[in-house]
């Protein structure tokens, strides 16, 4: 398997609108308004700010359960997840499982690698 590029960094925030406004006003990042919004199935809402060939994804929990809510409870705000683009998600998952890594089934081109298999880094694989 070959990692292609950094797709995005996920950043958990307490107030999505405030974080976006801060990064836009003070750092001149621009929001991609075509993406993001409420994702009830994940208990989050998100927004994307592209920079170079990657994105920052700002994520606010909208429920009390799930990994984002847990991160917010434990750490407040901060870097949450690294997302790496791969050529073929199914092949990547098979490859990692063959090496003994714990990886979730791909859903809509996205799979999560267990933090137990990355020494604690929250890692997402994505096929574009």
């Amino acid at each position: 398997m070959k990692a292609k590029r950094i797709d995005h960094i996920g950043i958990v925030v307490k107030d999505l609108d405030a974080a976006i406004a801060t990064y836009a006003r003070n750092f001149a990042f621009s929001r991609d308004t075509a993406r993001g919004g409420e994702v009830p199935a994940l208990g989050i809402k998100n927004a994307f700010m592209p920079v170079g060939g990657s994105d920052l994804e700002f994520i606010e929990p909208t429920s009390d359960s799930g990994p984002v809510a847990q991160f917010a409870k434990d750490r407040g705000e901060g870097t949450f997840m690294l997302s790496i683009e791969v050529e073929n998600i199914d092949a990547a998952v098979s490859h990692l499982r063959g090496l003994g890594a714990r990886v979730g089934d791909p859903v809509n081109g996205v799979a999560f690698v267990s933090m137990k298999s990355t020494h604690g880094v929250n890692l997402q694989l994505v096929q574009r």
Binding site: K4, I11, V51, G52, E77, F80, M81, S117, T118, H119
Partner: protein, 137 residues
């Protein structure tokens, strides 16, 4: 003059065993480690890989202490800017606490750390070609 980052220059993964974590990413994800070095003035080891324009930096002690579990976390990011002095001045004017630009480990580059106001993200800015490269003609 705003910061105007051109791209994410590097993402830092910190750990208590940078060799093992870098090797895990290399072996499992095919991310080739291109360079290793000891951070000047410290015993911390830095290992670098590059995915397109973004560097993945694995930072921490070169190996875990006996009996300790290897633990890593996604730490922070460094964005590239065209004019670090102007970026630092702009952020200070907006009330940010920003360190003075200092020589980075990348040849000819200067780096400045932004202390707070980034939604909990450890955040720095880097400018390449900010300094003469030693040994260059």
């Amino acid at each position: 003059m705003a910061v105007n980052p051109t791209h994410i220059d590097h993402i830092v993964i910190s750990s208590n065993d940078s060799s093992t974590v870098a090797k895990t990413f290399q072996d499992n994800l095919g991310i080739e480690i291109k360079r290793k070095m000891i951070r000047p003035g410290t015993s911390a080891q830095l290992a670098f890989a590059k995915l397109r324009e973004v560097i993945l930096e694995f930072a921490g002690p070169p190996e875990v202490k006996p009996g300790e579990e290897v633990k890593a976390k996604l730490w922070g990011m460094v964005v590239a800017v065209d004019d670090i002095d102007a970026s630092v001045a702009d952020l200070r004017e907006k009330g940010y606490v920003v360190g003075d630009p200092t020589k980075a480990v990348q040849p000819g580059a200067e780096i400045a750390t932004v202390k707070g106001g980034t939604s909990g993200v450890p955040f720095a800015m880097i400018q390449y070609n900010a300094l003469p490269i030693e040994g260059a003609q």
